[in-house]
């Protein structure tokens, strides 16, 4: 057993939290089935599982969103059985959840957000601002956020907003901090900083539960991991058991536990796909920043995507990749000041999204819920949205044809749902992403730009998305993947472009590419 510093802190600490035999049923579905979770005081306990495995439901049971009585089983905190009837009950004991979708009010300041609902006020409801500001400064120092308490939350990046959430949790004297996929929308740098913070908390005696899909994070900080699958707890592994013989995380073991089968490879092979002539050629693309006149969000970007080729675009958050893609896609972002695009060798006018689609370009957004789907509409309506003329004659929709199309993609992409009439808001992230992909496949583009195609998606669904991407390449389409997950780019792409501060600062072939090479390109580009 490797002498892990993590284990050294609390070798045999008693459990701070025990959830025993938790069973929670919804009409027609059993979301949790006899789940057991034991968290030792002072540890970082990872919980992983596919989307729909029951992680969020379990946390809702723990925090009292589902009150005692609505589930079977018992919760012990500090060795005593607890029956929470709502979030205030669990918060009173110091159990604080930070949800994936941050619950901050954008137009209020950091200080106002931290003390929202918990204001330092006199008996008559008059807020004592000097006290609030001083306490906010202390809290911000503890989470390592160097911002003035008066700063509006909307002016902060996602990473810093996450820190504000954590500061808010600290203000409530947190004892058990639960983070639901905290790094899903963070770049590598911010993610690393967040994990370091968790380690610091561990030293201060704060216990954390980290819900995460990212195995490298689990490998870095977790003292133990509980794996859930299909609403049941599969196993809990202490750190020693998580590691393989080489002292590194035994990823295959965890993945096998999560999906219930061996994934031979994380990335399906794509062999024998001939890379052909250029489909998309962009030269000198520059885009003005919409908020800061005189600044360029994208500067002099040139790239080529060939038939059958999968090209990656790496970079930190805010590197200008999404901005470039959306600007190319019919000027959906900013204002182009220079640049030319050619599709299939022909200069092409991409002046509007409609024109871009007709020219054979598709852009699947990184923000499925915000920009990809009409959430309260069903699968059928969403699939046909970008190509309604394809299921219509003279402006009248042929509903039978539309159903047939939706049914075809539902089967082809294996969208797990009750049927094409299911409303997309109820689908899991992976299946929502498949609906977005179906929409673009039906528009029949030559070149697809996929922006963070697997963000927030579990391992099994990721594999399926990768297989779809490979299929597209095989069909002779060109694919440009924008991703913040470097292993994904390394595993999938024929070529990787590195972007930083709106410019392309490096291009690596599959052979040369490595995480180190990508980071080097970013760091040495300076700026």
């Amino acid at each position: 057993m490797a002498a892990s510093p993590a284990l050294a802190v609390t070798p045999a600490a008693s459990p701070i939290l025990e959830m025993r035999g938790i069973t929670k049923a919804f009409p027609g579905v059993k979301a949790l089935d006899n789940v057991t979770l034991a968290v030792r005081a002072g540890e970082i306990h990872a919980v992983c599982g596919e989307n729909g495995a029951g992680k969020s439901t379990l946390m809702k049971v723990l925090s009292g969103v589902y009150p005692a009585g609505s589930y079977d089983g018992s919760i012990l905190f500090d060795g005593e059985e607890r029956r929470f009837s709502g979030i205030p009950d669990s918060e009173a004991l110091g159990i604080i959840i930070i949800h994936q979708e941050l619950a901050l009010v954008p137009l209020l300041s950091i200080a106002e957000n931290i003390f929202l609902g918990n204001e330092a006020a006199s008996r008559f409801g008059v807020i004592d601002w000097p006290v609030v500001m001083a306490r906010t400064r202390d809290l911000l120092a503890r989470v390592g956020l160097d911002e003035a308490p008066e700063t509006l939350v909307t002016d902060l990046g996602v990473g810093k907003q996450q820190l504000v959430e954590i500061a808010k949790a600290l203000s409530k004297r947190v004892r058990l901090l639960i983070l639901d996929e905290p790094t899903a929308s963070l770049n590598e740098g911010d993610s690393a900083a967040l994990l370091t913070l968790l380690e610091a908390f561990r030293e201060q005696g704060i216990t954390s539960i980290l819900i995460s899909h990212k195995l490298n994070e689990i490998a870095r900080v977790a003292d133990s991991v509980t794996i859930l699958r299909d609403g049941a707890s599969v196993e809990t592994l202490p750190r020693a058991a998580m590691l393989g013989p080489d002292g590194r995380l035994d990823e295959d073991r965890i993945i096998k536990g999560m999906v219930g089968r061996d994934l031979a490879h994380r990335y399906p092979p794509r062999e024998g796909v001939a890379i052909g002539e250029p489909l998309l050629e962009v030269t000198g693309w520059s885009v003005r920043h919409p908020l800061h006149p005189g600044r360029l969000a994208v500067e002099d970007v040139s790239l080529t995507v060939r038939r059958g080729e999968v090209v990656g675009m790496a970079g930190l958050l805010g590197a200008g990749r999404t901005e470039f893609a959306m600007s190319l896609f019919g000027g959906a972002y900013g204002q182009r000041v220079a640049g030319e695009a050619r599709l299939r060798g022909q200069p092409t006018d991409l002046g509007s999204v409609e024109k871009a689609i007709r020219a054979g370009l598709a852009y699947a957004t990184e923000d499925r819920k915000g920009y990809g789907l009409v959430l309260h509409e069903d699968i059928r309506t969403n699939v046909s949205l970008a190509n309604l003329p394809g299921v219509a004659a003279k402006g009248v929709i042929d509903e039978d044809r539309e159903r047939a199309v939706a049914e075809r993609y539902r089967e082809r992409l294996r969208i797990r749902s009750s049927g094409i009439d299911q409303v997309t808001v109820n689908l899991s992230g992976g299946n929502q992403q498949k609906v977005v992909l179906s929409k673009w496949l039906f528009a029949d583009p030559d070149v697809l730009i996929l922006d963070e195609p697997t963000r927030g998606i579990d391992v099994g669904a990721k594999y399926e998305i990768y297989a779809i991407i490979n299929d597209l390449a095989r069909q002779g389409k060109g694919v440009l993947i924008i991703s913040s997950e470097m292993p994904e780019l390394l595993g999938m792409c024929d070529r990787i472009l590195v972007m930083n501060r709106g410019r392309i600062v490096g291009e690596l072939s599959a052979d040369e590419a490595s995480q180190e090479a990508i980071m080097r390109a970013i760091v040495t580009s300076g700026g």
Partner: protein
């Protein structure tokens, strides 16, 4: 309890293939609104000692509400697109005044003047839609401004006076009835025949659609439900037209209204442009990134609203046979209420033409019924307000479950 999950994942028996419980509860909500209307009708029919459904009163009911229904059709699209139009009452009043000036004071031919008025309505809609769609000023503010502007312009155009009467040809728009070919007898045969024809067309088209779906291998609903629903609708249409035929027959404006309802039902449920309006209201950003020209679409919904408001203004003016500065006052409230009672969502993307029409009829029947009962205009408003709040709350409640 523990084995509830199993049947859900097991393949369903073939007879239930394509049966979707969600769609069923969805249509239950639609029927709920119709049941509510039927309940209100029965209530007033009982308490007015049968006065409500007398042919004379029924004819009046149609005439009184036609302009609200016409505007509700346009307002539904505006609301589904995620906007609101507060100016429709003022626009209707203004167009009525314009019609009076053109026909009564300037002596223009009614047909020509009517066309001019519809174009003017379209321009008013375009003027407001431009601010909303291209300059991104909230529609609430733009149309609030429009409401004041056109109320003022109505006063200016009429110089504070009522102007009338209109030429007889124009009056026929509201007070005319479809002519009877076979004269004599107390029953207007043509009107009955029109009703029967309408019922046949409706059932026929539903049947054709169903057969088409069956060919494709979908079973939308059991034959029994389908037959019952269609028989009921056909019976209501035939009974309604026969009943009206015992008085003076079908009013012209009813035919116009019915044609428009069918047209807008078709546009919203079957056409590309209709589908795009729903997508626009449901998620504007997603619609835009799917290649939909959201600005132009928003603009067009306002143009459409303007034309329908103009038509409503003409119908109202023809009915009163005079244009008054007060015409159109408060119409927007009834129209917007009709859409929301009919299940449209204030945040856009949700709403049906049939819902809005039923909502308008609920408001109309209540207005008429309460007037017959002698309830003062004061308490009528209180009751209408509470009904609006109640209907939307119930809808919200069922939507959340």
């Amino acid at each position: 309890m523990s084995d509830t999950a199993t049947p859900a994942t097991a393949p369903r028996p073939a007879a239930f293939a394509g049966f979707n419980p969600k769609a069923f509860t969805g249509s239950l909500r639609d029927y709920g609104m119709i049941l509510c209307l039927v309940g209100i009708v029965i209530f007033f029919q009982f308490f007015t000692d049968g006065a409500l459904l007398r042919p004379l009163n029924l004819t009046n009911l149609v005439l009184q509400n036609s302009y609200i229904v016409v505007m509700a059709l346009g307002m539904l699209l505006v609301i589904v697109a995620g906007h609101i139009d507060l100016s429709v009452g003022s626009t209707a009043g203004f167009i009525g005044a314009l019609a009076a000036v053109l026909m009564v004071q300037m002596g223009l031919h009614p047909l020509f003047a009517t066309l001019l008025c519809l174009v003017a309505g379209g321009l008013i809609g375009a003027a407001q839609g431009w601010w909303v769609a291209y300059l991104r000023i909230p529609s609430f503010i733009v149309t609030l401004a429009g409401m004041l502007v056109f109320k003022g312009l109505t006063l200016a155009l009429l110089a504070g006076q009522s102007v009338g009467p209109f030429p007889p040809d124009f009056q026929k728009l509201s007070s005319g009835f479809i002519p009877d070919i076979v004269t004599g007898g107390s029953l207007r045969i043509t009107s009955v025949l029109v009703g029967v024809a309408l019922a046949l067309i409706l059932v026929g088209s539903n049947l054709r659609r169903r057969l088409g779906q069956q060919r494709q291998g979908f079973t939308p609903e059991p034959m029994a439900t389908f037959a019952l629903k269609n028989a009921l609708v056909a019976a209501v249409i035939v009974a309604f037209s026969t009943w009206l035929a015992t008085y003076r027959g079908l009013p012209n404006v009813l035919i116009v209204m019915f044609a428009l309802i069918l047209l807008y039902r078709f546009v919203t449920s079957r056409t590309v442009i209709g589908r795009r309006v729903y997508a626009l209201g449901g998620n504007e950003k997603a619609a835009k990134l799917s290649g939909i020209n959201t600005e132009r679409l928003t603009f067009l919904t306002f143009v459409n609203m303007g034309v329908l408001a103009a038509l409503a203004g003409l119908i109202f003016a023809a009915r009163l046979n005079t244009a008054t500065p007060k015409a159109g006052l408060g119409f927007e409230l009834d129209v917007i209420a009709a859409c929301f009672i009919g299940g449209a969502s204030a945040s856009g993307g949700v709403g049906k033409v049939t819902g809005a029409v039923v909502g308008a009829l609920i408001m109309g029947v209540m207005n008429n019924g309460m007037s017959i009962l002698g309830i003062g205009i004061d308490y009528q408003q209180v009751i209408k307000g509470l009904v609006l709040l109640g209907a939307v709350s119930i809808d919200q409640y069922y939507r959340k479950r």
